[in-house]
Symmetry: C2
Subunit: 437 residues, 2 copies
Amino acid sequence: MVNGHTNFRKMTTATTDLDALIKKMANEAREASLILANVPSEQKNKAILRMASLLEENVELLKVENEKDLLAGRDAGLSSAMLNRLELNDKRFNSMIEGAKQVASLEDPVSESLETHNHPQGFTIEKVRVPIGVIGIIYESRPNVTVDCAILCLKSGNASILRGGKEAFHTNTALAKLVTQALAESGLPEHAVQFIPTTDRAALNTLLKLDQQIQCIIPRGGEGLIRFVAENSTIPVIKHYDGICTVYIDQAASLKMASDIVVNAKTQYPSVCNAAENLLVHANAANSHLPAIAKDLVEKGVTLKVDETSAAILRENGISYETANEADWGTEYLDLVISIKVVDSTETAIAFINQYGSSHSDAIVTDDPQGAELFLNSIDSSTVYWNVSTRFTDGFEFGFGAEIGISTDKLHARGPMGLKELCSYKYKVVGNGQIKS
Amino acid sequence: MVNGHTNFRKMTTATTDLDALIKKMANEAREASLILANVPSEQKNKAILRMASLLEENVELLKVENEKDLLAGRDAGLSSAMLNRLELNDKRFNSMIEGAKQVASLEDPVSESLETHNHPQGFTIEKVRVPIGVIGIIYESRPNVTVDCAILCLKSGNASILRGGKEAFHTNTALAKLVTQALAESGLPEHAVQFIPTTDRAALNTLLKLDQQIQCIIPRGGEGLIRFVAENSTIPVIKHYDGICTVYIDQAASLKMASDIVVNAKTQYPSVCNAAENLLVHANAANSHLPAIAKDLVEKGVTLKVDETSAAILRENGISYETANEADWGTEYLDLVISIKVVDSTETAIAFINQYGSSHSDAIVTDDPQGAELFLNSIDSSTVYWNVSTRFTDGFEFGFGAEIGISTDKLHARGPMGLKELCSYKYKVVGNGQIKS
């Protein structure tokens, strides 16, 4: 079995060594971040494009390393879904390479002047975008995350410390080596991107307390990992728990639009966080709309888990269903399953979503602007849709040009996170001798 | 001795009751926050102005409660500085009342449209400012924080849960009662501002894990409290550790401006976080500038803790000093004491500040624009000054009209935090049936 911990033990002998290694990495990342904050865009882009060309040049070598992980994963009995996530096939290679080229072409977010305030005493206070500093990324099986995150952090002037999952350890190590090579060849500090050479959780325990060196932690993976990070980190964390998204069909909804949006939100890519998990239908539209929408869903292979009112309607129309239980309203199926409930008003729909949803993406379908406005204002989610599918919550669709993830937090970044969301700001104050009286 | 814990024990009998109380408060705050997010500005302002008038009407009553805290504080042997912070004198009353009126007159940050993106498929994505939700404020002895924070959170549409220090328990309880009365009289949910009726730390342990109800924690007080909160909270925290601010006198600095700024930054209000704690002088300006600046500081009663090079110069000029040790460079004196060091270059000054400073506020005094630019870009602090005193880092000076604190974090808010920094954002997406293909 692939186990970075075991590998690492060959090099060191005690936890104190691991502790020292992580601290050394964090100190070096901090040093690198201070340099990186003032590196011109061209130099960062050169390094990113070099990463892309190194990936192209080393496809065969990387496939060999990836094969080691896949073999070990099969031996360890990983599910086919997990093995699929682990695999660096041609499509994923191309997407990493194209992604790198695209990020190189994006505008550099650093140094943008955001606001200027003229103080009555005659000096100026300018708010300027700057990198966050050192970002720790903790992720699970997809090895392409190594390259994607390294590149997004670099472009936004941040040093990064990457800690991947044990399943992808060989692939990640090989990818990280190429990243370091690209940095060195481009004259950038090679500690600007560092990969933790072990998957021992003790390394995480050390890392998550280094709040003097590391300014932000982004965990990407299952809820267990994210909760572990949130509970153990003294460094601010930007996280994404889950995506329990709802589509609400108002009484004033056109049937065709309603069905198109629900079917798209549920079935176009069911395993992603912006797919719909719940469908609410206004009581006055239940008889007219629910049977047709339910039929369209069933045709796409969707299992319906429904409340009593919906059940009666579906029964009458000969549509098969299962009975929903309380837990279903808060379940992220990530599969061809949807929970359905009839509600008596838009207010009830809003209360339902604010209770059971995950503050991610929710949609109303209606021709009534007043109802839509109430919904858009009252739903406490990062993205609220009126007559649009929830599937658009995504950094690329939002025009960011790239995405490092989606935040379900409300501090710093909410919703899709692009390059700007990987930045902080500072105030530059310029005067000619002003003092406070 | 004033002890909220003891008071609370009269009402309940076990930690589970305290646990249940805190959870109930958090649930009610969450409910209130959903309402508050859509309350018009006029109604919020009405409540804030009512708070101001209730304070005016109840000065005598509040002074009686404050006297209880002061008496208990004296019995408990609190320092005169702590007793001073505790006291609600006329000046502080007026400042609370004036502060409330000023916040009522400020522009409401909620609902401002921040950006709009037109998606190629013909729908719009609008980024709109919204409240954070529920904010927990954990603070120490100053009772005016109760009113200041309640008002700032309310104006920005946030529900708040306040937990004050045990020394001010009677005063805080009386103030909180008036806040609740003002909310009720203005037709706002009275759980929009809640005061925790105990200072038992067990309440904090419960509170800091309620990440489903509470979206942000702001600790205000000593480093011990802030570290406790950062280590125990699963809710995102915005914090302010300390203010170790440095003034650097470049070789190209005018002597008068240099001395004015150093003296102002050190002595105008030494006990605040934006006062200077370190002075660095370029070696080429040490002989010409240091003696005069040192004399000006000594005249103001400042103790100088200096490195060897400075010591030699001061000795020659008959100026008394103490020898600095390594720990002094990272010490926040909050008093008439300053550490002084001669450095050989601007780069050395930058490295010193990035190592020993607290990323708060740092200044360069120079007539050389290139050196100033290098300094402003390279210092990793929330506010960097060129020829201006560090004492201006403050929400009022920055034109925010109010301030809930200063963040030394880099996520979400950095530097002074006003009403906008108490907000998050959401995306409103409006279309006519668009689905993802």
